[in-house]
Symmetry: D2
Subunit: 338 residues, 4 copies
Amino acid sequence: MIIIMQSHCSDDQVQGVAERLAAMGMQANVSRGIERTVIGAIGDERVVDQEALEALPGVERVVRVMKPYKIVARESHDRDTVVQVGDVAIGGRALQVIAGPCSVETPEQMAAAAQAVAEAGCRLMRGGAFKPRTSPYAFQGVGVEGLRMLRDAARPHGLPVVTELMDVRMLDTFLEYGVDVIQIGTRNMQNFDLLKEVGRTHVPVILKRGLSATVSEWLMAAEYIAAGGNHNIIFCERGVRTFEDAYRNMLDVTAVPVLKRETHLPVIIDPSHAGGKAWMVPALARAAVAAGADGLLVEMHPTPAQAWSDADQALSPEELRNLMAELRGIAQVLGREL
Amino acid sequence: MIIIMQSHCSDDQVQGVAERLAAMGMQANVSRGIERTVIGAIGDERVVDQEALEALPGVERVVRVMKPYKIVARESHDRDTVVQVGDVAIGGRALQVIAGPCSVETPEQMAAAAQAVAEAGCRLMRGGAFKPRTSPYAFQGVGVEGLRMLRDAARPHGLPVVTELMDVRMLDTFLEYGVDVIQIGTRNMQNFDLLKEVGRTHVPVILKRGLSATVSEWLMAAEYIAAGGNHNIIFCERGVRTFEDAYRNMLDVTAVPVLKRETHLPVIIDPSHAGGKAWMVPALARAAVAAGADGLLVEMHPTPAQAWSDADQALSPEELRNLMAELRGIAQVLGREL
Amino acid sequence: MIIIMQSHCSDDQVQGVAERLAAMGMQANVSRGIERTVIGAIGDERVVDQEALEALPGVERVVRVMKPYKIVARESHDRDTVVQVGDVAIGGRALQVIAGPCSVETPEQMAAAAQAVAEAGCRLMRGGAFKPRTSPYAFQGVGVEGLRMLRDAARPHGLPVVTELMDVRMLDTFLEYGVDVIQIGTRNMQNFDLLKEVGRTHVPVILKRGLSATVSEWLMAAEYIAAGGNHNIIFCERGVRTFEDAYRNMLDVTAVPVLKRETHLPVIIDPSHAGGKAWMVPALARAAVAAGADGLLVEMHPTPAQAWSDADQALSPEELRNLMAELRGIAQVLGREL
Amino acid sequence: MIIIMQSHCSDDQVQGVAERLAAMGMQANVSRGIERTVIGAIGDERVVDQEALEALPGVERVVRVMKPYKIVARESHDRDTVVQVGDVAIGGRALQVIAGPCSVETPEQMAAAAQAVAEAGCRLMRGGAFKPRTSPYAFQGVGVEGLRMLRDAARPHGLPVVTELMDVRMLDTFLEYGVDVIQIGTRNMQNFDLLKEVGRTHVPVILKRGLSATVSEWLMAAEYIAAGGNHNIIFCERGVRTFEDAYRNMLDVTAVPVLKRETHLPVIIDPSHAGGKAWMVPALARAAVAAGADGLLVEMHPTPAQAWSDADQALSPEELRNLMAELRGIAQVLGREL
């Protein structure tokens, strides 16, 4: 940790910082330059309260030199982690495409969806029973019954299921219904109590990035889960909020190589929520795979225009099959499998 | 609701939209211009699924003409709503400054804080017992015991208390400890299950704006609370996330006049979390009052540099007193009281 | 054009809008809904001043139904435009990778660079003689002499050259030195006088996207060039400014399919300025090609660590060769050539 | 300057950095911590190429400790600078409100505008002869003739005039027509050739902030002007681009106290372009003055709804007079005059 002092700071102020550092268990190393005095603090900076130092008289700013995350950091674990969901491995040489409808609607819709997912060659299925909606007057999901429909549709095809947990009080129900992968949605990326509870289980977690979360905050949210003992975490980039209004969110494809460098955990991409329109999905999905993502989370509906939510962004079964074919070609170029 | 068709759409596509609208209970009014066909849909657009229309072939985009929010809308309730917290009115002619430490720490700290709050002439007190922190390794608040300390410190001065609720499972405890105003924090603005539960009580709620929430999303989040029956909602702008890195968040002072036009509910501002440094607080607080805010939520600590969290952004008791004097002058110019 | 009136507007206000529209040569079509009155305006909305309508009493907002751009719009020209630079075609089946150093430095550096560009299989060369730098104290480019060095290095390899024009007064010099493609940089995307002058020539123009320009503004900037008669325009996405600080700019890969839908002109990507670090370039370059870009603009330096500017983002000759091999594989999957 | 090395860097890499620093005339001070090696570089970091250091093997990142700006920095000049425009002082105890129409239209419109500006008690007048417009098909300003109309209208009232310079080739004409203050617009904040030319004159310059320029970049743009010898610079915040779409730009009121700390030069605010609607202007103008701005740049038109550009954001003469009265009250509270 480095403390940069203001240009005309006094000796007393430098002394004050050194004393506060000592009280925090850090050693101070004062270096007086021509224009600035800089104090190097030696010790474990993760336990130090940066704001308390910035509040001291004469301090201009404090720069951390260590990564704030530990368990999820590549520095602490050099090799790629593979998250195992039953027989399916996420994060290895094989790419995984998780497909299915935005919302669970009816047993018939789910059966048709599951068949289309399996036929396209995908190995996991998604579907939302509880839906976070901007408006209280919009369809909020079919609820618990949806967990059963999802499972019953996916099981005959051997597809593990992924579904979103919004309310911490529902966690036991999710476990009871055998949800294979818990999705933490964008709006809950920093719902710390939810993260802590999920961290106490061993169920794999897909952690979606918050709408304007920095990569660092996202890694710290994963650290909340990991700190509880659950290291089965998969990052999912799904577009961030910017000034652009030609499409819904901006897919941050740069986050893929950056995360791959910062963490050992798998990284997937949701091209459906990013662009917000079905016709953008193939281009974004190809870009994600080409950038090095370990997989995708894609919306597909047996009859998109009839979907109860996100009708405009779901692929049809045929579009999903075509996309899988394209992705296989790109995977091969990169020495991966799909 | 207006449906703008693509430039070379077919008659069948126009017919398809008209039929779908009819199935949704809307009447279609087709207008063929020189370059575009536009369909006006007459009926209650709030119950219509916009995405389902955008998924239809030939549709370019759908424009809503009505506000998506109802109960909180100025259109539905012309006069300003005053939220009553015991004897203290928020949203009337009098401005309210809610002050206190970021975190509840000890009974001594809280007693000193309460005295400083009262002496400065503030009529409500804040203090966090549960703290949302980016890092799982940072101080997470003293917990339930903090609710007691907050109440015990504030009561002798007749100050109603404001504190943040993060976990829906803690709501009953908050009610038990007599929390006067529940704060929903930035990270939970779209924690819809939490909003629904708080909507079932009648306790006044301060709803902070999400880090990158649009004004419209914020109003919809309030609508979640209001739809449950709780109309005692106070909006709190606290800075939004932008590209700027010279300070923490950008205080969106424009949100004050815009909200005042869109909703009848009170609007306050948190200048402490916006800038992130104590020296910026007076300028931002003055700007907020001058822009027409109904009050402020300000961090003050008896000894800022010793604070257990946000040490760099808390005012000292003296700084708070000086700020109150400045704000009184501005309030008077605007025909308000403090 | 659609004018949405405020909820309690008067008949006089509606009449006022209709009269103003008539004065603008538009016909008004008033539709009174249950909650809102909406006025459809029929005529050429491109010549209408939207703000003047929004200033009228009773108007809530004005929605345009037509695209504001004409010549560059896909609607006005269905087939992809191929921009010809000597023998090299940009925008056709073949992808083009334009490579070279950030800054022109010395004849030796340029000769080595040109050789590396040609050996990697690239068919155009870039190099900056005039450099836009944030600081007036940073290296500003070698100037006119750089145009000569660039041309002299590239000519023996048959490589057309691309270089940035910052100052309108330099245009004649650029033409004199035979610059094959003029680059308009990010900071000048809305330097309208520069766009107009470049529009009077027939030299192909690479128009980089402004740091926070919307796709619509970018298309309008191109329309400035096209309106002058120069239709040889190539869009270049190079990362936009967001809240993220883990890397320099966020590459907007979604802009590729969106532009391909909105315009008939070619679209390339600059992965070097986007991420800002050489190690990110291959992933971003692959993503760009996979998303459907028509080419790339890449920084390569014979000895990156010795570069006079942007040393940390230039590829080495070997890295460029390796990248080209990967890109060829992806191009093939997509039915394109490199 | 501090160089933070990667966690497993080698001794050779540390040595390489030290040698490069030596070649740049800096002295290296190596400090090996438990988890990181950090190198302090002593010397004038402003002349050092940061990217060249970041390109060296083993370097994680480079942190500057000095401000990159010199002449405009508060550090180099402690007292507030007052920019004198004829008899009018900008930056002293008195606030200055510069008012007038967006575009110069006709002699009659300008005469009426000048009278209204003077009657409201404003001491400078604005008006655009050359207009930067997003669309090439929109009104582009009346041109040179507008400079004459502006001057002829303002002179009888003793009002110095402010107008925007877009094209460097027009600078001599501006000087010839006696423009008192040159405005550099948002889109030209980093038009470095224009900044350099204006820096060679001694005419006061209003430097508007770029649409997504950081405070640091803005200060550096001013440094371009200052480095040429012209220190008569006035910063003008006019709203920045964010994700919010409830209004046009977000007024960054925090920039006022931050700039006041970083620079000795005056800071004014343009509330008209920020919100984009006339009804928002009074609230934003009051906030700006309350935050400590030295003045305002406001759009006023004799008959707003008839304005040739920005009709929806201009105040009427009466609205301007009312605003001035409110601002006088706030100025007085802050110990200033208007």
